[in-house]
Symmetry: C2
Subunit: 419 residues, 2 copies
C-alpha cells in the first residue's frame, strides 16, 4: 500500500484526457477543502457524470480522496463532502542548524503531526545523517504512522548546497560536512525522494508558505545570523543561481576604495553585519564585556538588542552602524531586483522595528523604489517549515506525474509496423 507500489500498479494505459482531468479534480479538492461532487463540477467546469466517474476512481482505486460526511442542505439533497486524503503519504522536514537539529513529520498538506529537536552533533558528517533518520523513525512510531508511506523529504542545511546533485558543499560550523552527498545518503536510508537546500532558501520557502511572504511573488528573505545570507524568490520561484550562489550577499562590497583587500576586508558586508562582526565591535564590547568572554556570539547579539530595546545609547549606536551597511546592501539588492518585500530573519532580526526603521531610512535615501520590510513571522521555525514546504513541492510533482500531468495521448510505445 505504499505510494511506491501504487505507482507501479497504476497502468500507464489510461488515455491522458482522463488522467489530466483526475489531476484537475484532485487539485480542486485540495484548494477548496471539503467540497461536494456538484461543487467540483462547477469549480472544474466538468460535467457532473464525469466528476462522479473520476471521483469514483480517486476514491476507491487510487485512494487520494475520501468522503468526509454530509454537508448542510441548501434547500435540496444534502451534498456528500469530499476531501483530499492527507494521509495518503507523509512528509519529513529537517532543519539542520549549526546548534539545533529540528525534524518534523507532516501529512501531505504539511500539517505537522509531530516534531522533535535535539542539539546538533558538532562532529557533523554521517553522524548527523544517522541522527535525522533515527528521529524521523521515532516520529513515525510515536504517531503510529506507517513509515513505508514516507512520500518526500526536505532538508535545510547551513552553508552552501548544490540542489541538483543534492550535495552539501560546505556547512557553516559543521567541519564534518564537506562535499557530502546528503541527498543520496538520505534517499538510500529513507526510501523517498529528498531535496537539500541551504537554510536561507528554506526559510524563504517557509515564509512564502505560511509566513510574511504569502501571496508575494517577488521577495527576499535575509538571514541575519552568524553570517549573512539571502533567499531570493523571483516570480514565485526560488532563484538559486548558476553556481548555487544566488543570495550570497555577504560577499557584497560597499566600499570601492577597499575592493582590493580580498574577501572579508573592511569594505565587505560580512565584516559589518555578521553576528561575529557585531559582537566584536568596539561599542559592542563595551556592552557585553571583553572579547572572548562571551563564547556565544548569538547571546552577545541578543544582549545588545536587549540593551537597545531598553534605550541604551551605545547599543542603539551599534544598530545605527549596522543599518548603514545592511541598508546599503539592501538598497543595492533592491536596485537589482525591485522586490515587493524583504523579510528579516535570524538573531539580529529580533531587534524588530529598531532594525527595520534604521534600514528603511538608509534604503530610502539610496533608491526610490522602497519594498515593504517585515520581520519573519515564523522565527526559528522558518527553515523547518520551509523544508516541509519543499517536501510538499516534491510530493506535488510526484503526484502530478503519477496521475498523468504528462500532456497528451501517448501512443503505446514500440508501435509495431504495418505488416
Amino acid at each position: 500500500m505504499s505510494p511506491e507500489s501504487a505507482v507501479e500498479n497504476e497502468p500507464d494505459g489510461l488515455p491522458s484526457m482522463r488522467r489530466s482531468n483526475r489531476l484537475r479534480l484532485l487539485q480542486a479538492v485540495r484548494r477548496s477543502g471539503p467540497i461536494s461532487r456538484a461543487g467540483l463540477a462547477k469549480a472544474t467546469r466538468l460535467s457532473p457524470p464525469t466528476v462522479s466517474s473520476l471521483v469514483e476512481d480517486l476514491l476507491h482505486e487510487v485512494g487520494l480522496m475520501s468522503e468526509v460526511g454530509i454537508g448542510e442542505s441548501s434547500g435540496g439533497r444534502p451534498p456528500v463532502l469530499l476531501q483530499f486524503n492527507r494521509e495518503f503519504g507523509y512528509l519529513v522536514g529537517v532543519d539542520v542548524g549549526s546548534r539545533t537539529l529540528r525534524v518534523a513529520l507532516t501529512d501531505l498538506q504539511g500539517q505537522v503531526l509531530a516534531r522533535q529537536q535535539v542539539p546538533t552533533d558538532p562532529a557533523g558528517g554521517e553522524i548527523l545523517v544517522d541522527q535525522m533518520c533515527t528521529i524521523a523513525g521515532e516520529l513515525f512510531t510515536a504517531t503510529g504512522r506507517d513509515r513505508g508511506k514516507l512520500y518526500a523529504v526536505g532538508v535545510g542545511a547551513p552553508g552552501m548546497t548544490d540542489v541538483k546533485s543534492g550535495r552539501v558543499i560546505r556547512a557553516v560550523n559543521l567541519p564534518g560536512w564537506v562535499d557530502l552527498p546528503l541527498r543520496d545518503l538520505l534517499e538510500a536510508r529513507l526510501g523517498a525522494p529528498v531535496r537539500v537546500d541551504n537554510d536561507a532558501n528554506m526559510a524563504a520557502l517557509g515564509e512564502r508558505w505560511r509566513g510574511s511572504a504569502r501571496q508575494v511573488k517577488d521577495f527576499v528573505f535575509l538571514a541575519l545570523g552568524a553570517g549573512v545570507g539571502a533567499g531570493v524568490v523571483v516570480g514565485g520561484q526560488l532563484h538559486r543561481g548558476h553556481h548555487w550562489y544566488a543570495g550570497e550577499i555577504s560577499h557584497m562590497n560597499l566600499d570601492v576604495r577597499e575592493w582590493r583587500s580580498d574577501f572579508g576586508g573592511r569594505g565587505y558586508l560580512e565584516s559589518h553585519v555578521g553576528a561575529v562582526a557585531i559582537a566584536e565591535g568596539e561599542r559592542a564590547r563595551s556592552i557585553v564585556g571583553p572579547a572572548g568572554a562571551g563564547q556565544e556570539r548569538g547571546a552577545a547579539v541578543a544582549t545588545i538588542i536587549a540593551a537597545a530595546r531598553s534605550g541604551d545609547a551605545r547599543a542603539l549606536a551599534v544598530l545605527d552602524e549596522l543599518a548603514v551597511y545592511l541598508g546599503t546592501a539592501v538598497a543595492n539588492l533592491v536596485a537589482v531586483l525591485d522586490p515587493a518585500l524583504i523579510v528579516f530573519g535570524g538573531g539580529v532580526s529580533h531587534a524588530g522595528d529598531l532594525l527595520i526603521e534604521r534600514v528603511r531610512r538608509v534604503v530610502s535615501r539610496i533608491v526610490p523604489n522602497l519594498p515593504r520590510f517585515e520581520i519573519s513571522t515564523l522565527g526559528d521555525d522558518a527553515q523547518l517549515l520551509g523544508a516541509v514546504s519543499s517536501a510538499m513541492d516534491i510530493a506535488e510533482s510526484r503526484l502530478a506525474t503519477w496521475l498523468g500531468a504528462a500532456s497528451f495521448p501517448r501512443r503505446a510505445v514500440g508501435r509495431t509496423g504495418t505488416r
Copy 2:
C-alpha cells in the same frame, strides 16, 4: 482574412482535446521546420490519422500551415513537407532610441522583411507615435504586405516604463514623454496588441533570442549608454520587479561613506559609469578636449575608446577607473543573482576585451562565482530585435489562446438547469 476576423470566425465549440492537439502540431512544425505528416506523428506521438485530420484543419480551414513541396524519399513514398505559414500575420518591432528611431517589419517567425531608421524627433510625445505608425505603414506598402494582418507589436522605449499599463513613465532625453499611454495610443492606431518595455529589457530579450544569451536561463544585459541600466533575465523570463524598477542599477551605492549624499553623489554607480560621467572626467577631457566642446557625449566616449585601443595610457586609465566602479557593481549584482552570463551593450561596450578583462579582474576579487562575460553580438540592433522578440511572445500567446491552449473541456457556458 485578417487574423482578427479569423479569430471571430473560429467557432468556440471545438472540444479542447482537438484544439490542444492542433496547437501541439503547430508548435512541432515551428520547431522542426519543414516536416512530413509522418514526422509530426513521431514528434508529437499522435497517430497518423489524427495528424492527417488536424493538419487538414490547419492547412485549409485555419491557414496556419502550408505544404511546401515534396521531400527526398528515404526508400519509400516521398514525404509531403509541411511548414508553418510565417506570413499568416506580421510583427512590428520598434526601438525608440534617444537619437535614432528604428522600426522593423517581420513575419511571424521574426524574419525581418524590411526595416527603416530615422532620427528621433526630440520633441517626443505624440509626434513620435505618428512617426512610428507612418513608418510601419510605409514598410507594409514597400513590401506589398497587407497591413490588416498586423498581429503584434513590440516597442522598446528609453527610461522607465510600466509594462502592465503600457505607459512610458519618463523617457531619457525625450522631454515630451511623461506618463504617456503609449500602448493604448498605438493599439488604437495600429489595431494590434502592443507591448511596451524599456530599452535594457528589450535588449536582453534580443540577446536571448538571437544574441549572446541564447539558451541561457539566467543572465543580465548591461546597457552602458548615457546612463546605466540592466535587463535581468531569471529562469528564462524577464524580471521587471514590483515597481518596474528591476535592473535600475544606476542607483547602486558603492561607498557607504557617501550614502548620505542622496542620489547622484560620488558613491553612486551612475556618477562613474554613465557616458556623461566618463566624458567629463579629468583624464577624459585631456583626451577629447575641453568640456562643452564635444556636444555629443557618445562621440567623446567613442574617442576615448579608440584611444585606449591604440594604447593611449590616459585612456586606459579612464577604463581602469571605470572598471573599478562597474566591476564592483557587477560583483554585487552577481552576489545577489549569480547569473551564468553578463552581456555588455551600449556605447561603452565597444571597448570590448579592454573592458571585459578589467571588469573581470575586479569582480574576481570580490566574489568567487564568476559568470561568463560577453560583448553584445547584436550591437545597436539588440533593442530592435528584442522588440520583435517580445512581439513574437505576444503572437505566440495569441495563437495559443486562439487555437485553444485553454486547458480542458469547457462546458457550454450558461448551462441550462435540469428542468
